[in-house]
Amino acid sequence: MTFKKRYLRLVHLLFIVLLLIQLLPDKLSGDTYAQYVVWFAVGVEILTLIVSSFIKKPIGLTLFVDIVSFIYGLLIAWTLATAKFNLLKPALFPPPGRVFWQLIGDYEKIITNIFSSVGIILQGYLLAAAAAIILGLLLGSSERLGNVATYISKFLGAIPPIVYIPYGIALLPTFRSVSVFVIFLATFWPVLAGTMSGVMNVDKKTIDSAKVLNVGKITMLFSVILPASLEMIGAQSGLGYYIKNYSDLGDYTRTLVGLIVIGIVIVVISFVFNKIQKYLLRWKH
């Protein structure tokens, strides 16, 4: 990549604009903690410059700077609408500096929360995925059972997982186990439905190829049918769905701080899952 392509980008102009607008007089009363916005922006800018110097693929760089541009644009609009022109209700829309200030003040609590939330998600998700995939493979192998179970899982999957919370609280000992239980249910039905539909749609040629090799029942299930339906399991079910659910459930603080943290956690998790999915399906072109 040329120097121009690497470093002369709109994103850096947006960074300068973001810094300059901090110099405008505040219209909002009280401290707006503009210095936190500046620190945050400088941090992001340094990261951007580092990434710009080391990244190899032009497409990757473009994606990265586009995301950063979006963050800068959002911060510019947010700063102007709150601190600088006071267009929105401050109680509902605090200026970005205050949010960053709060984020830093609460960082210990936030980090603990992230770890416990990710633990809950992984536990609920992995338990549900394992159970649903095994059950789906077994049920999907029988056309009759598979058909009826598909309808039942679609019906039960349509119930919002939040509905289960009171049952969980009544039946389970801790709030943590309730959370795991709710994530479990939110994941279980769609993964089950996806697995069964994957299993029932495996190409007959693939099954025949395996049959003439004399594969046993277990090998057929786990070494042939499971990988053959893997794409369907990933695409139709789980990952995206459960991430969306987590954001429904995770919005417990109802603060912008919470939203930002959750947003970042979700982006990271979906990135990791994307990589895993890509690895598992590496045999597709």
Partner: protein, 270 residues
């Protein structure tokens, strides 16, 4: 006792209330180590016949005996190559072959299986592609892997259902010669019994000891013809001989006389 005996095999299908007979009273036998081609126009039931031999289909009446025992489902005595590339797309070429070996030879260790797989991939000229996934290989290469898998499983019987049907003319020629070479070996070892379904007369002549010609509606055996050419065969030399052309013309005449009589004679322009 013949290696494979097909006795009065009849297969009826019911499709949307219409019953039709794919095979009717088909009988013939195949000797141990014999290369037999089953040839006929589409709809003559040749693939149905093979699917029963494979054990993934069952006949309405009649039976097939292998070594005197009736077929019950698939078996480790038969290796299969389909027309569609029957490799598992999530396994590399090498893993595909090793997976086949594992099903017939449970005792072999992983290292042994991979070693045998490499050996056979080398035989089909794919040593440089063993870690590629099927989607990264051409159709001809995928079929080479399928052949390597079937051979590496080292079964007594090899069943091939139009294995080169979807491959371009040039590669088909190369694969036919490869198969011939691998099957004939150096002439000292025991040869596998092969049942090879095709609609290509030249392919059948080049490869087979015996050709079973079938007719359609219903699928029946029309004729069994011994191929009178010595082995090892060389295509380039063989096709130039007068005997080859006479034999080929005789087969073509039989092939088309059947078609003409089936669809009603004079109007048919060939």
């Amino acid at each position: 006792m013949s290696k494979i005996e097909i006795n009065n095999l009849t297969v009826d299908y019911t499709e949307k209330k219409n019953r039709f007979t794919a095979l009717k009273n088909v009988s013939f036998s195949i000797e141990d180590g014999e290369f037999v081609s089953v040839i006929g126009s589409s709809g003559c039931g040749k693939s149905t016949l093979l699917s029963i031999l494979e054990g993934i289909n069952t006949p309405t009446a009649g039976e097939i005996l292998i070594n005197g025992e009736p077929i019950r489902g698939t078996g480790t005595d038969r290796g299969v190559v389909f027309q569609h590339y029957s490799l598992f797309p999530w396994m590399t070429a090498r893993k595909n072959v090793a997976f086949g070996i594992k099903q017939v030879n449970k005792d072999a260790s992983r290292t042994e299986r991979l070693k045998i797989a490499d050996e056979f991939l080398e035989k089909v000229g794919l040593e440089g592609f063993k870690n590629k996934y099927p989607s990264q290989l051409s159709g001809g290469m995928q079929q080479r892997v399928a052949i390597a898998r079937a051979l590496a499983m080292d079964t007594d019987i090899l069943l091939m259902d139009e294995p080169f049907g979807a491959i371009d003319a040039k590669n088909r020629t190369i694969l036919q010669e490869l198969l011939l070479e691998l099957w004939e070996g150096d002439g000292t070892g025991a040869r596998k019994t092969v049942v090879f379904v095709t609609h290509d007369i030249d392919e059948a002549i080049l490869l087979s000891d015996k050709i079973v010609m079938m007719t359609a509606n219903p699928g029946q055996v029309y004729s069994e013809i011994k191929v009178p050419f010595d082995r090892p065969r060389n295509r380039a030399e063989l096709v130039q001989t007068q005997e080859y052309n006479q034999f080929r013309n005789k087969l073509l005449a039989m092939f088309y006389s059947d078609i003409v009589s089936k669809i009603g004679g004079d109007e048919v322009v060939l």
